[in-house]
């Protein structure tokens, strides 16, 4: 939103006259141990050319063998997007020469992809139709410098899915919203690690303009490899404005591939599509058609986690979390599963309290706690009882959040530990009443103002009470009693 505001005025002007039509192609690296057709490891942190083998390098005589895990993840993405996962799909060769493409062709899918159709509905209500999802292999990486070029084949042959949409997007903000949502889905469903800096999630945008009201599509340009959400929206905005300028000056948009230069903040022509290579697609004779049995399809569907939207909605509606909390707790499927397991065990505490505790130290810390909770039953039960203590008013949340580690480490129950440390709150009515009486007697002016409706004075009394009790007072109980006493009888 912040970004688009930079161009808000320009875009608004463009959109008075033109409509932008945008379709996306997303390349998403699959989260697998081995490559798509080769035995080498997938590890973006490895030394250059560490993860190579005869198949990855396309050595003479080497043959590809499909890693079924990639198929499973691609199918899962399809199920998440409501696609049809096809029982028969075909791998094809896309032929072109490039040094980082070891075989002289890329194995991809062409006329028979693994998934067809599907859609993603954006928050705005915009429905983005998915055209297809195809499985394909990544290329290596060329490194240039000092007048020399080198190639790192670690990434060569790593499994990707390419998700292709219909041209259903209309604004740069929608583009960003769509890609963010797709990224969330891929990461949440463990289809991809989604590390954009490492190129694990890359977006291409096909952008064209047409006069408002026209049904015909204008000439498009393809913006390549936009690898951050921010750049994505910026590059699309710039391209829309650029195309509008071209059209306004009476010229025609050229069909071409463009890149985005983030330093100079502009899009530039990379190559004209007219001179583009004929890829000579044909079915790869080294790979039989990919057949998925009814059982496999069913298994893949069952293994697909519940739709993110449903879980998110449950957190928001049933657990009464705010949107940010929902977002944070549903970052990955593992995280939300652990959270739900914890909440299920609570007796007195609410889900909201559990969420507050988990996020009190930041999302990362919360994730860490959840990981430990799902691995360690003992910790989960301890945490449930600790949260219940908080809910009963025995101790404040702050104490649990700050000292849970220490308390759990003592090996005692939370309550025993609190008592030993003298940290339990005073909730007994006699003690509390005495305290309130004392305070009202001591501060008659403040009491009168509070009674007259200056509710912010509540915190003054709470503060005083805390000081006297060394923090062992239950603020809710105190406030309640205080207001009762001041109520005109």
């Amino acid at each position: 939103m912040r970004v688009s505001s930079v161009f808000a005025r320009e875009l608004e002007q463009v959109f008075q006259k033109y409509e932008a039509v945008i379709g996306m192609e997303i390349h998403c690296q699959l989260r697998t141990k081995a490559k798509l057709f080769a035995p080498s490891a997938v590890d973006s942190g490895a030394e250059p050319n560490e993860n190579i083998d005869p198949v990855t390098l396309g050595l003479p005589g080497a043959l590809p063998v499909l890693n079924r895990r990639c198929v499973e993840l691609a199918a899962r993405m399809g199920f998440c997007l409501g696609s049809q996962v096809n029982p028969l799909s075909v791998f094809a060769r896309k032929n072109y020469f490039y040094p980082d493409l070891p075989k002289g062709y890329q194995i991809t899918q062409y006329d028979k992809p693994i998934c067809s159709g599907g859609e993603l509905v954006l928050e705005s209500g915009r429905v983005v139709r998915i055209d297809r999802i195809q499985i394909e292999e990544d290329a290596g990486k060329s490194v240039h410098g000092g007048g020399r070029s080198a190639i790192d084949f670690n990434r060569a042959g790593v499994g990707l899915i390419e998700i292709v949409t219909h041209p259903d997007l209309r604004t740069p903000a929608e583009v960003q919203g769509f890609v963010r949502e797709l990224h969330r889905l891929a990461v949440y469903n463990r289809v991809s690690e989604g590390d954009m800096e490492r190129g694990q999630f890359r977006a291409d945008a096909n952008v064209s303009l047409r006069p408002r009201g026209s049904a015909e599509l204008g000439t498009r340009t393809e913006l390549k490899n936009l690898n951050s959400f921010r750049f994505l929206e910026r590059a699309v905005s710039l391209e829309i404005i650029r195309q509008a300028d071209v059209l306004d000056s009476g010229e025609e948009v050229t069909l071409e591939t463009r890149g985005y230069d983030s330093k100079r903040d502009l899009t530039y022509s990379q190559r004209s599509k007219e001179t583009a290579t004929d890829y000579r697609y044909f079915p790869d004779p080294d790979l039989p058609p990919l057949l998925l049995s009814e059982e496999e399809l069913q298994k893949y569907q069952t293994d697909t986690p519940a739709p993110l939207a449903r879980v998110w909605g449950k957190l928001k509606e049933e657990h009464q979390l705010n949107s940010q909390e929902c977002d944070q707790l549903t970052t990955t499927h593992d995280m939300v599963e652990a959270y739900l397991l914890l909440v299920e065990g609570l007796k007195k505490a609410t889900a909201k309290q559990a969420a507050n505790y988990l996020l009190s130290q930041g999302q990362e810390k919360g994730f860490e706690v959840l990981q430990r909770v799902s691995a360690q039953e003992e910790l989960r039960l301890w945490l449930v009882s600790a949260l219940d203590c908080v809910a009963e008013g025995v101790v404040r949340m702050k104490v649990l959040a700050e000292r849970a580690e220490e308390a759990f480490g003592s090996g005692k129950s939370f309550l025993d530990w609190l008592e030993e440390k003298g940290l339990t709150q005073q909730s007994d009515e006699a003690g509390l009443e005495q305290m309130v009486n004392d305070l009202l007697a001591e501060f008659p002016d403040q009491a009168a103002s509070l009674a007259a409706g200056q509710s912010k004075l509540t915190s003054f009394f709470v503060g005083q009470a805390m000081k006297r009790s060394k923090g062992r007072i239950n603020p809710q109980a105190l406030t309640q009693l205080l207001l009762e006493k001041l109520k005109p009888s």
Partner: protein, 507 residues
């Protein structure tokens, strides 16, 4: 010349070196090692000596792995006799075609482009043979990247037919067939895409067997046309080829097209001991008459059919109508696949790299200088066939023909057990006779191509023509009926064909 006794003689055999290890076949060779009669190193040394002595006149062998072979021989010799018993090919010397990867050895495909390239890994077939105690002794000559039918398109120069040095040996696995005929090794591995083993086997009067597509792993075989290539044994008898096949045929997790049937469990169609009297052999009479260009071949073929009848075999006519289009479909499909398979040879990663100012220039010049004329012709043909706008008319149509052919064969095999044709339309041609006319070279594959397109097992067994020239016959079986084809051919071999046979072997 045509009576069974005459056929059984070995007058037509090429000169066999004295003490050739091929004498009693590959199992006999292994047996002598197991019994301790002969030391493995002696055998290997003898083979190396024979190659040194005989190869210069024919140029069948292009690389000799002396060090590897001799050290392997010593390793095997050092094993216990109990371990020897488990190795069915103990100490059997094998020559592989120069397109199969042997770890630590050069892999050239007879191309300048792969000059200096050493494979870091071994093909599955090499591992399979070695795990049974066989020893790879060297690489045999071939047409560059298997493209050719005469073994003349090789960067190492042509191989000569050992029976007549003015003739070519057939191709592309010409080196393998010539080496087998000369007895340089009892077993040679070739690869057959559209007849590349059967045709040279026929021209060199040895036995060549192309298994069902997928029954032998292609991992480590440099691809020409992936959907057709099949590693195929070449030897001097059906028994040898059969023994080799039983080691070679196995499922390989490294080859996704590796077979869907287990060739060794007997579950293939029509297994069980065949009886000649119950055998039904189909012969496409009209097709044979139309395409055979040599009177002698035609006559020899007619006599062979007559002999089959005399043996009690039921011979019936089959109409191979869609075969007419097989040749065209084959050259479209194989060239299309080749154009893509050969894309990896860009001179950047391995092999010979040409000098150039830019990336494009380096790649372009490396390929221009590295590939020979026939390879370039096929790449151009294949690139065209796959081009946008021509794909459907060329590749799409060829694939449709291929599907038709498969179902046509399936229909035939409901009625017949095997189909018999000559292996080639004519005997071996003279060196240089066909290289100026590529399409006439292509038509030499007319009988071998359609079984390849359909993925069927097919064997070529030798027989002499009236005029003393060579003419092989091809027996084709149903998909997966490899054992059946071998068994029947072996049965016929002893009573009918004049294979290159041993004297006093153990069969």
């Amino acid at each position: 010349m045509d009576s069974p006794t005459a056929l059984g003689s070995s007058d037509h055999l090429p000169f066999l070196p004295e003490g050739a290890v091929v004498g009693d076949g590959i199992l006999g060779c292994a047996k002598r090692h197991k019994s301790g009669e002969v030391e493995i190193s002696q055998t290997i040394q003898r083979v190396l000596d024979h190659i040194e002595m005989l190869n210069p006149s024919v140029n069948a062998v292009v690389d000799v792995y002396s060090d590897r072979a001799l050290s392997r021989a010593r390793e095997l010799q050092a094993l216990s006799p109990e371990s020897w018993e488990r190795l069915s090919l103990l100490g059997v010397p094998v020559l592989v075609k120069a397109n199969m990867a042997v770890a630590g050895e050069k892999l050239s495909c007879a191309s300048r482009l792969l000059e200096g390239y050493v494979s870091p890994y071994s093909a599955t077939v090499v591992e399979a043979l070695e795990s049974e105690g066989a020893i790879i002794v060297g690489a045999s000559n071939m047409d560059e990247f298997s493209m050719g039918s005469s073994c003349e398109y090789s960067c190492f120069g042509p191989t000569k037919n050992p029976h007549d040095h003015s003739k070519e040996p057939g191709g592309s696995s010409g080196g393998a067939a010539a080496a087998a005929a000369l007895g340089l090794a009892p077993l040679c591995l070739g690869s057959d895409t559209g007849g590349s083993v059967r045709q040279p086997a026929s021209f060199c009067r040895v036995v060549g067997f192309k298994p069902s597509y997928g029954s032998v792993s292609r991992y480590g075989l440099v691809a020409f046309a992936s959907s057709l290539d099949q590693i195929s044994p070449v030897a001097r008898s059906v028994a040898d080829v059969r023994a080799a096949y039983s080691v070679l045929a196995q499922r390989d997790p490294r080859d996704a097209t590796s077979c869907h049937f287990d060739p060794n469990d007997g579950s293939g169609p029509q297994s069980g001991s065949p009886e000649l009297a119950q055998l039904r052999v189909g012969v496409p009479f009209r097709f044979v008459e139309e395409h055979v260009t040599s009177e002698a071949t035609l006559l020899a073929f007619a006599r062979a059919v007559e002999q089959l009848r005399q043996l009690g075999v039921q011979v019936c006519d089959v109409d191979l109508s869609s075969q007419e289009r097989a040749l065209a479909a084959y050259y479209v499909i194989s060239s299309a696949e080749a154009s893509s398979n050969l894309s990896r040879f860009d001179g950047l990663k391995y092999g010979r790299r040409a000098e150039g100012q830019s990336l494009d220039e380096v790649v372009c010049r490396s390929r221009t200088e590295g590939f020979g004329s026939e390879v370039k012709r096929r790449i151009c043909l294949g690139t065209f066939a796959l081009s946008a706008g021509y794909y459907e008319a060329c590749y799409g149509k060829a694939m449709a023909v291929r599907r038709e052919l498969r179902s046509e064969y399936a229909r035939y095999f409901a009625d017949v057990d095997l189909i018999l044709t000559p292996t080639t339309p004519q005997p071996a041609f003279s060196l240089g006779e066909k290289t100026k006319d590529p399409t006439s070279m292509y038509t030499n594959d007319v009988f071998t191509i359609s079984p390849s397109l359909a993925g069927l097992p097919a064997i070529s067994v030798p027989r002499l023509c009236e005029n003393g020239s060579d003419c092989g016959f091809q027996l084709v079986g149903a998909y997966g009926a490899d054992e059946h084809v071998l068994e029947v051919t072996q049965l016929l071999e002893s009573s009918l064909w004049c294979g290159v046979r041993s004297k006093g072997g153990d069969r």
